[in-house]
Symmetry: C2
């Protein structure tokens, strides 16, 4: 089949391709509110799969869910100095709690905020919940026996972004935010690292998205954190996408909200904290890691529909084909997310096309000849020719195909990331700028700069320090090519979303 | 064990009892935002069980989930006249999108809404999503082939209530809202009735809360609906709690947002609609239906912890007891939500007490003698003496006990509801007022009144029409005792939350 000319190729225009894949995959639509999007059923179902899987991983590691208010009193934000600095410029502010009727100039009925309902203290729609949660922890924590507190929240948050991009950056988005409280610094550090590992395993095993783990530079750190750990994924254009972060907050929020505990010896100290989050942005990472010029490609583990069965028949064969289709469906249904597309107002080719654009991993075509042969004529979304899958033992065969696709997709993405990871340890800033622009990727650099150097490099090259990777060799004795200073550690630079 | 004097009895003070049960059950805490509460892990886990179960029922009936924006442009509310009337007086209004720093009179740093960030059109935090969803449906629906649309959303909503009560009425709450679009009136009516049936089955099977199904009077109808169907539950004090509603919206929202479709014959018509929702209020219904003077009682189907195992030993027996406990836990874990309470700084009695207050349905005590006998010394939260459960085949035994509790709890609640359901077909308004106050319950009344009559009765008796029950005998030929008018149908009156 000819490719859908409605989807731009990656080569032609990578940004337009991304938007086209989303539109043709029926994942999301524009909302009538600036910066907000509607997650359509096929897009939201990817998030549901992510939530299900991650939630189980959080619970396995001893966390429980809770729910804190959407609104944060404005004064709370100011209590942690860096935090307010980071979020004040992009938050939705509630100032009234009632509307009143008015007649407009052209005589129509309308409403406006009722001045008599103005709030004494404005409320902020949460951009993140550290402040309100640490206020509550102050009520809940008094003794070492109350620790650790290991709470996660699934929620919507709002950050008034001026420049938005579907899934990657929107004014409102869905996420989870873990907030934990500990008696010791070591325990909090271990928790922050553990949750980064949970994210990394999830990204690789479930999303088939390989990630680089490391520490953020001071400049890119979460507002209020002592250290931010990150997982960075590489998109097909060589750009980085920050896919999840885990923060060691030290005692910053405990001090801001005066949360202390009495240890076993009767001594009081401030509580140690972490927070960690991933969001619907992960859907963007999945799309940009796996999709192709024909549209959406999804790893089986998060595909809303894993298998689509398409009956193909002339009327005289309808009964024999539909019998086989219904039997297959009944066998697969308990084990997979499977759909039968039996719409009678559409030709098979148009159906193939639609489900390909929606990223369904495996298609089974069933015609009268297939029924006779006792096998489904099958096609993987990731390519290759059509092949037969025997009806006999179909569950096992399908599982094998899907498992194979899942691990192949991870391997392809890993190979791509490895191939586009470079070391830049000598050369000028101009060399670096031209390299990272003509050949985008992850650039390992022996790094000796500071905040200002990072800012300057970003201006000249549009690249930022994505992280100081864990488990790197020492950079001792090397010179940072970008600053001329002695290198303190390896940094990975990239253009980023 | 003596009862915890910290929990007021139902007899003493029913309202205080409800708050005490919640506090001692560790379900919820006050938030620093007026009208908002924090759902603590043990309370939120009840909601998680509700979501899991209901979501599966929605999907079985062909619905999919999606996510629409939190914010609704203010002008949208005005498009449906009754809708704005119903919600304008209690909504949170966002007017700014940035804060700026200020120095307060006492020289401190603070923030305030930045006047330069004032929005051209204020945004409303959704009190319900009909308006924004029907705006989107206008983009998505054009032909009969696009119908039906069967979408559900799990979300937080805000209604600025002045008088709040935990779970029952709070400014922000969690809920689901189904919004469906249909080609015909009949189909929409059938959908609205189907979803009420889904709610009723769920309430009875999962929450063990029997409900009365019926139609709301015009006065109690959803703002913008043609008809509202309701399930009404009876609390232990004889008051009613509206536990879920399903609305037939006719073409009201389609007309307000100009959503039409072309039918198979090429004719255009407005789309027919339903919406339906239940919320965290259901947790209140569960608490008030089942709990007792010792605290929270939860049906096994939604209990965050269904079985708690408490080892009881002196140090010399620790190994033999813990071996048995760990073995039991491993056997039960795949099938139940089970917890071992092996805290060593607490005596068994204190643990029993804590888990009783948290409503855990089944407690297994394991001491050295129980290990020898090969059985767990067991206690049901709903009462009765302790009894032995053999280790051998423990999964089946525990399932039998929990299933029995689940159906017993429903039966007890059903019997209570039946016993407190009365017929009032003769007598004066004074008689009725005194009856419903001294002997609260559901009162069947042959009803002939109108909106104004309902208002007057509410003022005099504090009772409202909860619904016109489905499947009632005809009221023809009867006279309405409260209005003296000829009865048109049976109505059920009650005091209500």
């Amino acid at each position: 089949m000819a490719r859908d000319s409605a989807i731009k190729t990656r080569e032609e225009d990578y940004s337009a391709w991304y938007l086209d894949v989303i539109a043709h995959g029926d994942l999301l639509d524009e909302a009538p509110v600036r910066g907000c999007k509607v997650l359509k059923p096929h897009g939201f179902a990817i998030w549901e799969a992510i939530v299900r899987d991650l939630d189980a991983r959080f619970k396995e590691t001893g966390h429980v869910n809770a729910y804190f208010p959407l609104f944060i009193p404005m004064s709370f934000l100011s209590k942690e100095a860096e935090h307010v600095e980071g979020f004040a410029k992009e938050c939705a502010v509630v100032t009234h709690h009632r509307l009143r009727s008015v007649t407009t100039e052209d005589g129509k009925q309308a409403v406006e905020p009722d001045p008599a309902s103005k709030l004494e203290e404005p409320l902020i729609v949460r951009p993140t919940s550290e402040t309100i949660i640490w206020h509550m922890y102050g009520r809940w924590i008094d003794s070492w026996r109350d620790l650790p507190v290991l709470i996660n929240q699934w929620a919507n948050v709002v950050r008034w972004e001026m420049k938005t991009r579907p899934f990657l950056r929107t004014a409102e988005f869905l996420w989870q935010e873990g907030h934990t409280a500990h008696a010791t610094e070591d325990e909090a550090l271990a928790e922050a690292r553990q949750m980064l590992d949970v994210y990394a395993s999830f990204a690789e095993q479930t999303l088939a998205v390989p990630v680089l783990k490391g520490t953020k530079s001071a400049r890119e750190r979460f507002a209020g954190a002592v250290d931010t750990y990150t997982i960075e994924a590489m998109m097909q254009n060589g750009w980085a996408l920050q896919a999840g972060t885990s923060h060691f907050l030290g005692q910053n929020f405990a001090k801001a909200f005066d949360v202390t505990f009495q240890d076993a010896d009767g001594k009081r100290d401030y509580v140690w904290a972490t927070s960690w989050g991933v969001s619907t942005r992960l859907i963007g990472a999945v799309i940009m890691t796996h999709s192709d010029d024909d549209g959406l490609v999804l790893p089986p583990a998060v595909a809303p529909i894993q298998v689509v069965i398409i009956p193909v028949f002339k009327n005289k064969d309808k009964e024999v084909v539909m019998d086989a289709v219904n039997k297959l469906f009944a066998e697969l249904k308990p084990h997979f997310r499977v759909k039968v597309d039996d719409r009678d107002n559409m030709r098979p080719g148009a159906k193939y096309f639609e489900w390909e654009q929606k990223g369904v991993p495996l298609r089974l075509e069933i015609g009268p000849r297939d029924v006779k042969k006792g096998q489904a004529f099958s096609k993987k979304r990731t390519g290759g020719g059509k092949f037969g899958i025997p009806f006999e033992g179909i569950e096992g065969h399908v599982r094998e195909v899907l498992d194979g696709m899942q691990s192949d997709m991870l391997q392809v993405a890993r190979d791509r990331q490895a191939a586009a990871t470079y070391t830049f340890d000598s050369g000028s800033m101009d060399d670096f700028a031209s390299l990272i622009s003509s050949q985008p990727g992850f650039y390992r650099v022996p790094w000796g700069g500071d905040d200002d150097d990072e800012g300057r490099i970003k201006e000249l090259t549009k690249a930022t320090v994505r992280c100081f990777p864990f488990d790197e060799d020492s950079a001792e004795g090397l010179t940072c090519p970008l600053t001329g200073k002695p290198a303190a550690q390896w940094a990975v630079f990239a253009r980023a979303y």
